[in-house]
């Protein structure tokens, strides 16, 4: 979706403001927000891509106004309700509805270190050969999907060079929407700054792009 989360190249947000000696969490609720998101994710009712899409659907004015972990709580609430693990009323009340079933959490404390250390690899084996290979010229397609996508707007329609083939990876545009992993070949593509931003830009941007985002350049 052409949302406000797709920020690459926008102007007007001001200077970057690093904080010296920044703590991992500024408030305890931020730590709980992170942990709740990871622990609830262990149900497997939504994918990482779906959780990103839930945050992208936050209305733009709210998205820009909210702090990072406020967005996480908003996204988590959406996911929990859509997965029917809780209702909007239960979230509003902070307690379970009368007669609601009690489940067993899938992630127990003793499994946390192993779970985090294992992660979730996204590379898959596919039978089709990759269309592109390093050195080939490609163009990022000018597409504007209304759902989740990882093709940033600033790259659409631009010509770059394939610099690496990563193998086949889970396709976010389907995986975010419950349409399955549909893995595709994934490429690292180098774009010259002047192609993206005009003649005076002399940097380079490397973007990881799925095969269906690309066409021959």
């Amino acid at each position: 979706m052409n949302g406000v989360h797709d920020m690459g190249g926008m102007h007007g947000f001001g200077a970057v403001a690093p904080e010296a000696g920044e703590p991992v969490f500024h408030e305890r609720w931020e730590a709980r927000a992170l942990a709740l998101t990871l622990a609830a994710g262990a149900w497997g009712r939504w994918t990482l891509d779906a959780s990103r899409y839930a945050r992208e659907r936050i209305p733009p004015a709210d998205y820009l106004h909210m702090s990072y972990y406020e967005k996480w709580i908003a996204g988590l609430s959406t996911l929990l309700v859509e997965a029917r693990l809780v209702t909007r009323e239960e979230i509003a009340n902070g307690r379970a509805a009368a007669g609601a079933a009690k489940s067993t959490p899938p992630l127990k404390a003793d499994r946390v270190p192993a779970s985090l250390a294992h992660g979730g690899a996204m590379e898959r084996t596919v039978l089709v050969e990759p269309i592109y290979s390093p050195g080939m010229t490609v163009r990022a397609r000018n597409i504007n999907p209304v759902g989740h996508t990882r093709l940033p707007r600033y790259a659409r329609g631009r010509v770059g060079t394939v610099t690496r083939h990563h193998g086949a990876h889970v396709f976010p545009d389907s995986n975010a929407h419950g349409l399955g992993e549909q893995p595709q070949h994934l490429y690292q593509v180098r774009f010259e700054g002047r192609e993206l931003w005009g003649e005076t830009n002399n940097s380079e941007v490397y973007i990881d792009l799925w095969e269906s985002y690309l066409e021959p350049g």
Partner: protein, 191 residues
């Protein structure tokens, strides 16, 4: 937000959706066990051991796993090397992708609109705000983390550190130098 998150947590605990002890364990992991000191050890090893550096640049996920690091948000790692003529900078313009196993959770500025919007279009301006002004002939490569590939910058080894051992070298490696917004320190780093 404190009350709102507390209410959500008590609801999820009451319904048996999350285990409060698991929440504590997750938080403990990222506050105490997983952070930029992991990445600093990877960099110091690469500076000290040319064979390790070669493995790191060829297959970063495997080389990082040799030191015991890996997992969530670091399943597919690539290390990019800074040289006198090439400077690398990592960003996630679409959200906040960041190599957790080697750097921990990202700082607020990395997740902020100013950094996400500007790193790709004016990296030199962003670097200057971090106090890093690079000569015009240095090629700047910006890595936008759009897939599940996570990028770690291998900063240049500071001059005058030839006599230092791996542990002393690791102390020079800042989080920011592994994102690419700073050089490694010549004196012991704070973060």
């Amino acid at each position: 937000m404190t009350l709102r998150v507390k209410a959500l947590e008590s609801l999820l605990v009451e319904k048996g959706i999350v285990d409060p002890a698991a929440l504590d364990a997750i938080i403990d992991t990222y506050e105490h066990n997983v952070g930029p000191r992991n990445g600093a050890r990877v960099v110091a090893r690469a500076w000290s051991d040319p064979a390790y550096k070669a493995r790191l640049l060829k297959d970063a996920t495997a080389a990082i796993a040799e030191l015991g690091y890996g997992g969530r948000q670091g399943e597919h790692m690539i290390v990019v090397e800074n040289t006198p003529k090439i400077h690398n900078l990592v960003v996630c313009t679409l959200c906040s992708c960041y190599p957790w196993p080697v750097l921990g959770l990202p700082p607020v500025w990395y997740k902020s609109a100013p950094y996400r919007s500007r790193a790709v279009i004016e990296p030199r301006g962003v670097l200057a705000e971090f106090g890093l002004s690079l000569p015009d002939d240095v090629e700047i490569r910006v890595w936008d983390s759009t897939a599940e590939i996570r990028y770690l910058v291998l900063p240049e080894r500071p001059p005058g550190t030839e006599a230092l051992g791996e542990e002393e070298l690791a102390a020079l490696v800042t989080r920011d130098s592994m994102i690419g917004v700073a050089r490694a320190s010549q004196t012991k780093a704070e973060s």
